[in-house]
């Protein structure tokens, strides 16, 4: 992929710390992370001191910082578990945010080269997206590729990219039933492509390895969708899936793009799918309602900012989904509180 020159001052790397020992994680990423400012947010439920190696430029936020900033909204918004990273998004003032789960290390491409995931996300975010017509040669802006015959010229400038969704080698982001059924399944296929997910096409966004343009879509990355028995493994949560659909709806409304594909990270083994399966299936069941809901969601033409869009989405969630399940009612409330919090904090 072509690399563009990155202004490091425009980037924050946000790490949600769900484990105390971050040493091996940070050492693996040192060649990349040491060049950027990091925001590390400790899961407020995690007891003990984080172990962070020397040589990084970072700000650390813990439960007391969260309580201090969030104040009275802390009733509605939970930053526990994977949601702790959203506090980092709230605190950032940078243009681009990259966020990677703390059980992922750099991957190697098919030639054995170290994959700089941060650089690839920034490339994705700073080159145009093409959501209005599908290019069969994938990303037309990457070196060695272009728009194919039949691609309208008026659409070739593309639009800004709001979200970059990366992938995972080794332990792919499958749900618990799937991984439990196929315990040996590991993702070994390195697909050398980035593509824009077409407008109005919904997708499951995994929070494991993402980048986004905070200035364009920042508030849409929100902690809203909490399962009753949410856990500390991705198998035990779908909060990022909900958030991802909100972001996609916002991007479609604001004529921004969402890209998927490179970069890959290497996701380490953690947890036991069967154990997670023994807990609730709630997340899996809820998707049956969540996906059709977002697919048919249409916002008003007056929704011109991410905040406006989120407020409208929250209202429709409250009206259409909340009666069926308290998870949705809470999500709608949390979304409203988050937008208020975002506006308050961002103007400080």
């Amino acid at each position: 992929m072509s690399q563009i020159s990155i202004n490091h001052d425009e980037v924050d790397i946000v790490i949600g710390a769900l484990q105390l020992d971050l040493k091996s994680f940070m050492e693996e990423w040192r060649p990349v992370f040491s060049l950027f400012h990091l925001i590390i947010v400790k899961d407020p439920d995690l007891k003990g001191e984080l172990e962070i190696p020397a040589g990084f430029n970072f700000d650390l936020y813990t439960k007391s910082d969260i309580d201090g900033v969030v104040g009275s909204s802390s009733n509605a918004i939970s930053f526990s578990g994977y949601s702790c990273r959203y506090f980092g998004y709230l605190m950032s003032r940078k243009k681009y945010i990259i966020s990677i789960d703390d059980d992922c290390i750099p991957a190697r491409d098919s030639a054995g080269n170290f994959v700089d995931a941060v650089s690839q996300h920034i490339t994705n975010l700073s080159t145009p997206a093409t959501p209005f017509f599908f290019n069969t040669l994938y990303d037309p802006f990457c070196k060695g590729a272009d728009f194919v015959r039949g691609y309208p010229f008026s659409l070739r400038s593309g639009v800004d990219c709001g979200l970059s969704c990366g992938l995972w080698l080794n332990l792919a982001d499958l749900d618990a039933p799937t991984q439990a059924l196929k315990p040996e399944l590991r993702n070994t296929r390195y697909v050398d492509a980035v593509l824009t997910v077409p407008a109005r096409t919904m997708m499951p966004v995994s929070g494991i390895n993402i980048g986004f343009n905070r200035e364009l879509v920042g508030p849409a990355l929100l902690p809203a969708f909490r399962l009753a028995k949410e856990g500390n493994l991705r198998w035990e949560t779908v909060e990022d899936i909900w958030t991802g659909m909100c972001v996609k709806v916002v991007c479609d409304q604001l004529r921004l793009g969402v890209k998927s594909g490179l970069p890959y990270v290497w996701r380490k083994e953690r947890g036991d799918a069967i154990e997670s399966l023994k807990k609730e299936w709630e997340g899996v069941k809820l998707m049956e309602d969540v996906v059709p809901f977002f697919q048919s969601l249409r916002l008003s033409t007056s929704a011109a900012t991410a905040e406006d869009c989120l407020s409208e989405i929250a209202a429709v969630v409250k009206e259409q989904l909340a009666p069926a399940n308290p998870v949705f009612a809470r999500a709608a409330e949390t979304m409203v509180e988050w937008v208020k919090l975002w506006k308050r904090v961002q103007t400080q």
Partner: protein
């Protein structure tokens, strides 16, 4: 759940025809021999019908030149292009098989990154026999491929997928660029092997290239009309594009899937960009109007067969695109003629007249 065991791909040698348009000898088939020899070929000879096309020994084929096309279709032959590879769709019409693979005569066997020859036909068959997933995007691409699956968040109710109607393959070496891009980047070669097959989402149309294309003729055949191009027409090099836009809209309506990605073939010949520019320049302007037209097409619920959908589409083309150019009136009429010819050659009781799989959406 996506299949875990790897079964050998069936050959389908009695269910699949390979359709090749040509004006020259088919020496390129020598390279394809290990992969094509067991299949029946339908060769559509364009241009001068008195020229003899040499087919390598050992291939089982039927060949049609312009005289044959005129004889078989009579006045309806007007819908089949002359002096353009669009004439290939005549091959689809006369085939009696369930599946079609069409390939250009300047396309050769490519190698995968490990150096192994790619059996393009086998991959197309895998793509066609396996469901598509147009209703929700899977970030790990084709979930039914060995080593892949649906990702977390993908609703279980959508994991059965829908029948696949089209498998659109890609090309290494000479990419399928339009003339302006070719002129600006004459040396660009596609060297990137993207190891993915993916379903093009419902509601999204795409530029379909006919160089390396397979489809289920029973499910979508009548939609694969490659339009009026070449001799006597104001446009060329939009035959496959036109078929692709019509096909995708109808697939979306009938709940069928379209895949793109693997397999790759090696495209060896770059056609002359100046010649190409003359052929396609009107298309470059017209596609600005054509694309929004297809993006907003609505077919009525009563259209439950491919033919019905296509006839309705033809009406809408005439109503809405004629103002762009009178060519579209001719094209709309030709679309109807095509369906009439298709139904004549494939009378009811035959698969394509039956309602397609899946209900109209």
């Amino acid at each position: 759940m996506a299949g875990a065991t790897v079964k050998p791909t069936p050959l389908l040698k009695d269910e699949l025809d390979i359709v090749i348009p040509t004006i020259r000898n088919l020496d390129f088939l020598e390279m394809w021999r290990p992969f094509f020899e067991q299949y029946h070929l339908i060769i559509v000879q364009d241009g001068d019908p008195s020229k003899i096309i040499k087919v390598p020994e050992g291939f089982d084929y039927e060949l049609y030149n312009r005289n044959d096309i005129n004889r078989i279709l009579g006045p309806k032959a007007s819908c089949i292009s002359f002096k353009d590879s669009a004439c290939r769709c005549f091959g689809y019409m006369v085939s009696k098989k369930k599946y079609i693979y069409t390939i250009d005569d300047d396309c050769f066997v490519a190698k995968d990154p490990s150096g192994k020859d790619i059996n393009a036909l086998e991959q197309h068959i895998k793509n066609l026999l396996c469901p598509s997933t147009p209703h929700f995007f899977n970030t790990l691409y084709d979930p039914y491929r060995e080593g892949a699956d649906f990702v977390r968040g993908y609703p279980f109710s959508l994991r059965e997928g829908v029948p696949t109607a089209v498998s659109h393959g890609l090309w290494l070496n000479i990419p399928d660029y339009d003339a302006p891009t070719q002129l600006v980047k004459p040396r660009e070669r596609n060297t990137r092997y993207v190891d993915a097959v993916l379903t093009i989402p419902k509601g999204t149309i795409f530029p379909m290239c006919g160089m390396n294309l397979a489809f289920n003729r029973d499910l979508i055949g009548p939609a694969m009309y490659f339009g009026l191009m070449g001799d006597g027409q104001p446009i060329g090099r939009y035959d496959d594009m036109w078929a692709g836009w019509c096909t995708k809209v109808i697939c979306d309506h009938l709940g069928l899937g379209v895949k793109t990605g693997l397999p790759y073939i090696w495209h060896s010949k770059a056609s002359n960009p100046f010649v190409n520019l003359k052929k396609e320049y009107k298309g470059i302007f017209w596609q600005e109007e054509i694309i929004p037209f297809f993006q907003s097409v609505n077919l009525s619920k009563e259209c439950t067969t491919v033919q019905h959908c296509y006839i309705e589409l033809a009406k809408q083309v005439k109503d809405k695109l004629s103002q762009v150019d009178p060519y579209f009136t001719k094209l709309a009429d030709a679309m109807v003629t095509w369906i009439e010819a298709w139904d004549e050659l494939n009378p009811s009781g035959d698969d394509s007249a039956k309602p397609a799989n899946g209900t109209a959406k």
